[in-house]
Amino acid sequence: MNKHQHLSGPRAVAMAGIARLLCAMALLLTPCAIWAATHTLALTAEILPNGQYGYKRGDGQAVIPGPTLFVRQGDTIQVTVTNNTDKPAGFRVPGLATHGATQAPPHGGTLSYSLTAGKTGAYPYYGEGQELLGLFGAIVVDRPDGKAERFVDGDGALKSVDVQQLDKQYVLFMVGSTFWGSEISRSGTETPLWTNPILGAVKDDVVRFHILSLGPGHTFHLHAHRWLEPGTNSIIDTRLMNDVADSHTFTVKAGTGVGAGSWQYHCHLFSHMEAGMHGNFRVDAPSGQGDQAGLSIAGASPYGAIFPNSSTEPGLVTFVISDEPGSWFRSARGDALIGAIPGTEGRRISTRSLEVIPPGSSVNFIMADTRTVHTMTSLIWPSEADDPAKETGHAHPDGKKPRSRGHLASMPFDQSRAYKGGGIVKLTTPGLYVFTCKVHPYMFGAVIVDDPATDGLDLGEAIDLATGITDLPTSSDLATRLLRTFFIATSPGNWQNYQPPTPWTLTYPSVPVRITGGAVADLSDVLVARYGNHQVLTAPVPPATPGVGEVWVNTQFEKTAGKTKPGTITAIDTANWSIIRKISLPQINMNNPHNMWTNRDQSVVYQTQWFDNKLTLINRSNGALIRNIQVGEAPAHVMTRPDTDDITVTNNGEDGISFIPAGGTEVSKMIPTQKPGQLAANPHGHWISADGTRVVTPNIFTNDVGFYDLDSEAVLERTPTGTVPGAHPIAIAMMPDSSKYYAANLLHHSVSVVDGDGTLLKTINLIADYNPIDGTIVDRDGNGEATAGMLPIQLPVSPDGRAVVVATMTPSIIVIDTKTDTVAKMLPCDPGCHGANFGAKKGGGYYAYVTSKFSNELIVVDVDPNNDGNISDARIAGRVSLVGNGGTPVDDPVSGLPGYGGQGVLGIPNVYNSWVKHLPDSWKSQLTAEQRNPGP
């Protein structure tokens, strides 16, 4: 364990103490400040072995939290900060007056700051912009008289204590969903305790806690102890730590009135508890523990065992949760694994979302680069890792593996509500772990827990999936297909580029992996052998027949120069399939635009920002920003009521649907998607009944389809989808007469068919023809077609009610015949096939516009080319590039990932039944009679 002397101030501290005493005796009648001490603090920001940052003082070790400085009220602190990290990092101490430099020291540069300790208390100092990555520490300003906070004794008496009499002090930073701690001994030695430490004390020790927080807020709770809210006589045992920055210092007498014990401390935000935000305050009996009594135990640290660093201490790798395309779980050490894995010297590892640790080390998540809520959820884990008997030696009474919320075992890791913060989880079983966000289910981070004693990186014998699949061999086609999906999603270099058409060359980590049966193979060789490489792509050729109006595409990953967040809208003229304009809205830093709808007269486009909390109103005719409205976290889809033109937005990160009256400028209410107290539903892609009275939602977190009355806000029905938990319904479609609804079950690879009253009619298995072990796709369900629709997402019903077009990540486009509710056809799609919606075809019929996240073209499907009602001739009518050229009108120049990220797509005019009937005549006149009146 590393130790260093705590910053006990200048040599002249004794004299200053005398001066303070005199000052106190003089009752502040004299200008005491002249006796105040001046402290110097030379900090250097360094990169730690796991890619996080930490401050060191002088030649000490860089640590998290950074060195603690103790001063007294009235003192002056001269700080110099040298930045040896790769990022700018300012220096801020909220609450203390700061003079001198205001800007961030550049890489390798040093700047000086001067602080005045005007008020008592603990103050976080931090490197602005990088504080959530570890650049923080505490300055403790003590009272001039040397008194610490009073403590509550076992008999209720409030006792005074001098700082000098404290047995020890703890500093605990609450950052993300992780505690970062250190301990300061009576003699002033500070010892780093890293993450979620066990804080040791002997009963009746008088100890002082300095709780500090940065970023999203918390509540701090310590079991069986009580203390004073500073400045009051109020006795508390739980304390709010407000958003952004907060601190709270208190003193307790360990175990007073309650005795020895292992008392938990934790954040009391429920999702943070589920995310692992807890530790123990171990109060030892005064005797019987030998010299171990009162010793603290450090938690996992950036200096511990992480691949390839060997250490006897547990290590910590950290994923930064980000809005950045492909880097949603970005290892803090990025691609530093390159070269570390034998045989990868000089190669590209192609993903920044993969980490390798030995058993017993931990994974830390920090939502440091995102503007909305997420979950840190297990998607894949080694089959043995959810067995508490194997994980903890704590045998389950009935011998069965519990499958709910990770009883005692660390897997599966999940939180019941999306939140801001982070997470931390210790992984003990070798094998492959993939984490995702339930709100944004293509955010992936993978961890290989590798037993150093075995050959190859351990993918393990078998994996369990959040979808209910258990004991799937890691050698199976489904396992390697999911791995391939991971390496495509997390590496923009592996995305398909059609402008110009470039052979699709995939790069995988070329590393030996150990799979089922202990076989060792090269991961890249396996994936290339199974799925090929260097596929030749052809230039997109648009449909011969024009559409009607425009099609707007959320090119959600396209980056522009004037904003930090990704995403543009690409508007296409269907008369000639040219790009009308790109809209990126740099003035509001539009963030991951995901889904759109229009108002009744098609003059305003409503745009959700899925990694934010805003609905944006855009002038359709010129692409100008009209208004940015806060709606709720992670707004996913937007639709209007056809009868009133009121706006509904699903808050994918929360538990309701935001409602904005037509023409309104703010949300008037949020319609709950569950009854009070029930688990949050977190709806994604909803649909509204043709009469406008009902909204139907796919409830991702609760695996059901919800039916709600828009007027009374009543919960009418909740229809579970999937026979086992984990279906993850993500989008809803509706027959023109509202007689049937279709729900895409992303993780069950199926479509649920539900009638208007919520009765489940049928579940269409989209992978009936697929063998997950050998990967063959043959006609196993006997419908004459060999099809596979893995990971289905959007699935609109054609406005005439003939077909359901399902975008799936096989990738494929599955066409379902609504007469029989069977799969009629499979068409090819691009990687990350995602969005689909219908628009009118010129002269009659409809086009389904299909987008793909990891390519930069739009696929146009004609579901019934001859318009005879038989959809067996459904075909791809053409493909349209989403990449602009020098002449494309833009509001901000495109700077990266051109045309990528296709998700929400919208045909304008809106030709779905009910909505089409309210179109202005200028639009109606461009439609055929059938198109104007497609349904009842």
């Binding site: 509550v152 076992g154 008999d155 209720g156 509540t219 709770h221 079991h223 009580r226 809210e229 009051t232 006589n233 109020s234 006795i235 045992d237 739980t238 709010l240 730590m241 007073t256 009135g257 309650v258 005795g259 020895a260 014990g261 292992s262 008392w263 938990q264 009391h268 935000l269 429920f270 999702s271 943070h272 508890m273 807890h278 009996a285 005797s287 019987g288 903890t392 704590h394 009474p397 009935d398 519990p402 919320r405 009883h407 005692l408 509500r417 939140y419 806060q630 709720g632 976290e633 808050n651 538990d655 309701g656 949300v667 949020m670 709950p672 009070p676 107290g677 029930q678 688990l679 949050a680």
Partner: protein
């Protein structure tokens, strides 16, 4: 009484029958207590019953469960009316030093149940105070929030939890309380946290003990409003978010609290408080409970309730947050005291499991609201209706 003796020595009795090995691991127990417990064990007396008061034990307490450790470490449930396990109060009382205390002794049994909306809730099964049965104060149904346990500094509580969620035989329900004193065996947590014992109750056909008993010492310095909640169901975090939460009100031994008249503060006798309102700020609704001071009857008020008071009456609000959101509470038009100060405030930030209690004189009708952006839009607000004149 033993518990008083324990309090006088700075510790309180623990909730479970302790094995000699466990005693040695938990040497915070004073030797004399270890001796008492050992004597109890030799006689086959569960630890809890050593401290039972005469009235309670004398009536046999047919629902009083006791848990005894067997030599193989597994639990066995014994009903207290099994004569073999009953100690004679006189015999145990004689062996303990006499100690004066003004506090009352509460014998409480609660059950954790499922509600029709798929939530979980606590139900009061039995509550005796110094032998007097006060169970009729409570709703006969399981409620959210759970029963409000009103105590006074100096009281002692022995609370037994029973698990009636029979659909989940492998899951424990526990009671983890804030604020009051208890030893590690009454922490209401899983062994993975407390390193000693799984401190919860399994259902009737479950795999472990059906009951668990907690001892609380409502010591001086614990006055205030505190939550209790499950800590064991499904995970070591428990299922407080599913409805397993309730309130402990510890009135100060002084019998008075500070109150606001709107513009000034004064001291008000607890007896002059007409009503107590418990309002839990859960993630999507306020869950209310009202306690009539005269009758002590508790009325569950459901979600976002309309609170009623008579003009000029003193009423006390007990706010506790629960869940994942941070909240900001406002009672429009009112100002009240920041706890432990003389400062008047008109809004309060409350994070999960924080408590905030205040007493005001009801003057005008008003609305209360959670000002968190999305929680307000979800309908987290209600009315405070103040009526004037003689009804």
């Amino acid at each position: 009484m033993k518990s008083k003796y324990l309090h006088a020595t700075g510790d309180i009795g623990h909730a479970r029958h302790a094995s000699p090995m466990r005693q040695s691991r938990h040497s915070m127990l004073k030797p004399v207590i270890v001796l008492l417990l050992s004597v109890g064990m030799l006689l086959g007396v569960p630890a809890e019953s050593i401290g039972s008061d005469t009235a309670a034990s004398g009536k046999g307490e047919s629902l009083q469960p006791l848990v005894k450790a067997k030599t193989d470490g597994r639990k066995e449930v014994i009903r207290a009316d099994d004569k073999k396990t009953i100690s004679t109060p006189a015999a145990t009382a004689k062996s303990q030093p006499a100690q004066q205390s003004a506090g009352s002794r509460h014998i409480i049994e609660m059950a954790g149940e499922e509600t029709e909306d798929g939530l979980l809730a606590y139900r009061m099964v039995s509550h005796r105070i110094d032998g007097v049965d006060v169970t009729s104060r409570y709703s006969p149904q399981a409620t959210i929030p759970g029963p409000t346990i009103v105590l006074t500094e100096g009281d002692k509580v022995r609370l037994t939890i029973r698990n009636a969620v029979n659909t989940r035989p492998e899951q424990q329900i526990s009671v983890h309380v804030h604020g009051v004193h208890y030893t590690i065996l009454s922490d209401g947590t899983l062994k993975i946290i407390n390193r000693v014992e799984d401190e919860g109750a399994h259902p009737q056909h479950g795999t472990g003990g059906r009951f668990y008993t907690y001892l609380w010492d409502v010591a001086p310095g614990t006055a205030g409003t505190w939550p209790y909640h499950d800590h064991n169901f499904e995970t070591h975090n428990g299922s407080e978010d599913r409805g397993l939460f309730g309130t402990v009100i510890v009135n100060p031994a002084s019998g008075a609290v500070a109150a606001s008249n709107g513009s000034s503060a004064s001291s008000v006798s607890i007896q002059d408080i007409r009503k107590d309102y418990v309002l839990y700020l859960a993630d999507d609704a306020f869950w209310g409970m009202e306690i009539d001071s005269a009758t002590k009857r508790q009325t569950p008020l459901g979600v976002n309730p309309a609170l009623t008071a008579g003009g000029g009456e003193y009423v006390r609000f007990h706010l506790i947050a629960m869940g994942t959101y941070l909240n900001r509470f406002r009672l429009e038009g009112y100002r009240w005291l920041e706890p432990g100060t003389t400062q008047l405030i008109q809004a309060k930030n409350i994070g999960p499991l924080e408590n905030h209690a205040f007493t005001i004189k009801a003057l005008n009708s008003a609305s209360y609201v959670n000002e968190n952006f999305s929680r307000r839009l979800m309908g987290m607000r209600g009315s405070f209706n103040v009526t004037h004149g003689t009804p």
